[in-house]
Symmetry: D2
Subunit: 319 residues, 4 copies
């Protein structure tokens, strides 16, 4: 292993820059040359690749987004596109590749590992926390704190008006953001794709809370479970509550990463380089408990991440 490359792909997540910094600095310290591929697989195909040195990644850990940028790429999905990509990487004499991203990006990484002789390590970067084989993905903790800070602001105004707020969070297949942000803001109800909603029960819960003297009601809805507007309309009809909808949208992707995300990304980034040096490939670096571990990339991609239902129940009990 002499020369490795690092890229970010798919939706950006806070902490990606901390991971890039760790890959570059750990690599350089281990006498590797490290290259950055711009805009994911798109930049790979356009040969938008440049060497990164220790100083190039100074002052980036605290910044949201990704200095390598990211993009979607249709050409990489076809065989001929990927062959061209491998040719470009070979031209640069790149032996190892670190791919930071979500589901789709890691699927791309698995293809590279299968079809070329590059060593490939994936890092789970996804605010949805929807990737198996790791307890946490890079970006989740920051996203959760952003969501909770904003729900806290809604509670100010909700309490003043005695309204119900329906908050839609990200989470296409996975209700993790909605669940944890709901639990930690004392939301009246949490709607996630993993659990079938009984709107009648939900409405009853709101009414019970009102009876008990609760002056605000927050319902957190994962985008993959339902539209916040649908939920709002239903609840207005059933409860007579005045409701307001908030779609948090892309602000959930931004912001300076939290300590936890910086730490996770730093540990994962250096572990990825260490794994490449040790000749490993077709793996993803995950965190399980407190341990940074290599997991089989394909297995991680083929396993559906389960939601911790004890937390779902806890949220219901405590709110």
């Amino acid at each position: 292993m002499k020369r490795i490359a690092v890229m970010t792909s798919g939706g950006d997540a806070p902490g990606m820059n901390a991971a890039i910094r760790a890959v570059v600095r750990y690599g350089v310290t281990k006498d590797l040359e490290v290259y950055g591929i711009m805009r994911g697989y798109a930049g790979m195909l356009e040969d938008d690749i440049k060497q990164l040195n220790f100083a190039d990644v100074g002052g980036i850990m605290e910044r949201g987004g990704t200095i390598l940028k990211t993009a979607r790429c249709q050409e990489f999905k076809v065989d001929r596109g990927r062959q061209e990509a491998y040719r470009i990487l070979k031209k640069h004499e790149i032996d190892g590749l670190v791919v930071i991203g979500g589901d789709g990006s890691l699927n791309g990484a698995a293809l590279v590992a299968a079809e070329s002789d590059l060593k490939v390590v994936g890092l789970p970067g996804s605010i949805d926390n929807d990737i198996s084989g790791t307890d946490m993905c890079i970006g989740v903790d920051t996203c959760l704190n952003t969501v909770v800070e904003n729900i806290q602001k809604l509670k100010d105004t909700a309490s003043s008006h005695e309204r119900a707020f329906i908050v839609e969070t990200m989470g296409r297949n996975c209700g993790y953001i909605a669940l944890i942000s709901g639990l930690t803001t004392g939301a009246e109800a949490i709607v996630v794709p993993e659990v079938k909603v009984d709107y009648q029960i939900l409405a009853d819960k709101l009414l019970a809370g009102k009876k008990r003297g609760k002056v605000n009601s927050i319902v957190v809805v994962a985008e993959g479970a339902a539209s916040a507007y649908t939920v709002a309309r239903y609840l207005e009809n059933k409860t007579g509550y005045e409701t307001r909808v908030t779609i948090l949208g892309h602000i959930q992707r931004g912001g300076s990463p939290t300590v936890s995300d910086r730490l996770l990304a730093s540990r994962m980034g250096s572990a990825a380089v260490e794994a490449l040096i040790n000749g490993e490939s077709n793996i993803m670096i995950g965190i399980q408990g407190n341990s940074i571990v290599p997991v089989d990339l394909n297995k991680a991609l083929q396993t559906r991440k389960e939601l911790d239902m004890t937390l779902y129940d806890l949220a219901n009990t405590l709110s």
Copy 2:
């Protein structure tokens, strides 16, 4: 003047609690009895009124929303409703009234001043900054900082994806929030109700920015000027840019008030009580430059607040 009451009405704004605290504590210090009316004119009609002492307003200055809550009230709009309200206030031997709120609330205050023998002072509380006779309303500075922090988060992800973000802020008749938040985040374009938009120019500006190497484009749109979705669709067609829409919504009303809002509210709240003691009525307390001044309430309500076009031009020059 022996006994005064304070209320908040209409949309809540950060800093209302600081104003309530100032009214109560300044009043008590001046040997007045101070009452709090709950939920605006609705609570007034329901006789939901209680005495507030020095300690009752401890620890509230830093909290968003309003401890007196707020509501809309149809009954107060009809004559009979208001007569009933005056009867209730008279029963409590309340001589003076401080109303904190926006346009509608202050219109109510003007009616009380005209129709009853109560002395009435209004305080401008409105995140829209749409009230004449004052440079700033309570809540505007906090709202602006919330908007700007969130746009800053969008810029992280916008830069990573090279996308244009269309951000919709509050501001029904008044583009102040959109203008100032756009100016202070270097937004590519700002769409306000006070200025007719030329979408072609807007599209050209975005394309010029892209050509110049700008990696993100933010367009800030006041809700009263256009729907962010309409703007997004138009720009996608004209520029080929990938766009994303963010509707900031009610998070703009929440949050712990900034120093500036706490200070403004404290000054206005104490000035309102001082004015009542001096026998003034049918006025609003405004800030003009650095001076806290009484302004004629009806005049303030009948004058349309102008947007400072030099700031609009400055935003265009600097972005």
Copy 3:
């Protein structure tokens, strides 16, 4: 188990209120009566105890500090004091006790378990993260984010002046806060009680960073390792750098808890009640990996928590 009590003791930590809320609400849901003891062992001795219901702990999860307050208590350290305390708890027919706090508070809890027939469960609440048997204590994540946000502000001014800042964090026997905040801000050097400092190497590192073009240098020092002023003086002499000292002090204890602390406290608080219901005693609830586990209280108190030296090395490698 019919009636349990909860208390906070020692230094306060963000998230204690979330733990109190969880104890109360989980307990009430399980048909227990829950009492709050004010000001730790001091309030216990003064019989400052009151019942807490579901609604009493509404709106507290997001607040720093502890609604039960906390204090130091000399009388509880002597035998006669403790016997009086047990008498008071018995009078209230309290069977179970949840003690939230650090080392000293949990030592008190162990004494109660040993000397009385109360069932006792401890929760580790300490921003220092110096308690064995748990990966994380309640309050650590919030404290770390506060420290890092402030170091980030120092970096702004450090870069502008090309100065070195010596930042002193909390951590009497344990360098965890200093280590993690140093790692996640790219600090030039980290001084912790667990590692003997070689000031010469430290000075060399700073000079090397300067040579490499680094415009700011941050040295993070745990209060238990050295005084920031001593470190500053030494470095000024050795490097000729202009230095500035910042003692973060008690702001490290405050602030609205992060999502991670709210979640941890909610899980631990409910687990504590569950353990009491199951008849367990003389245990502490810890988190190991992702699992909430009971650990032997005395063993936790007698074991010294080790610092993860791989993170110390990683910090050195990446900065």
Copy 4:
């Protein structure tokens, strides 16, 4: 006027980057060439000067510190040093100079105006708000919000322990930061250089607050008035209160500028260029009320800024 230069000098203040951005972009738009002088007068003497274009100041408005850096410079205080500086500026054919900084920096600017044929405009950048001729300096609003956020965190822990916290803020000759942060956090007492402290009255106020049931006491002390440690010792003796000292230090200089500072800096920066174009010199740009105005530089420097004593009284009344 063909070519102008901009520099920052003295202590840095949040918003300086927004001012630099405005000077550069407004200048370029008006067909001027704009140069940046690095590290204040020190960089001027070392000919550390480079042209800045529109894109060079992209993405800097939101960042604390100053991209031009700042330093102290002894050589500029002697005649020969300044003559050398003028020679260097002449060599670059620089006709106009914008100096952003505090007292000392603006004194330097006045010397340049007096001794050379350069046109010179000063901008008041100082977190202390100690410059006459302007209501607000660049950086004050951000500093105040940083101070207040941190005092808010101290109140969490102060309330939990029933302690008094003595907080030392910046402000060598001017108590503005202490006054406003004290007023907007409900501090028990505020100690500023402009008002002689009667420690006995201060102690009595604390005791009265305690009697009234106040659970925390904050005393804010400007560094120029007294040492927080002295105040703490005195109060402990007089009241028996347990006290804790916090020295906020240089974190007061950092952080992303608030909306208000960005706006002020943008307006002042563009006004400075406009003034140079109009041939004005030896002025400072100030804000008075809402108006951006030119003021005589020497007069501003020779007038002592007064503290608004009505705000001091208001703080006492409301706390």
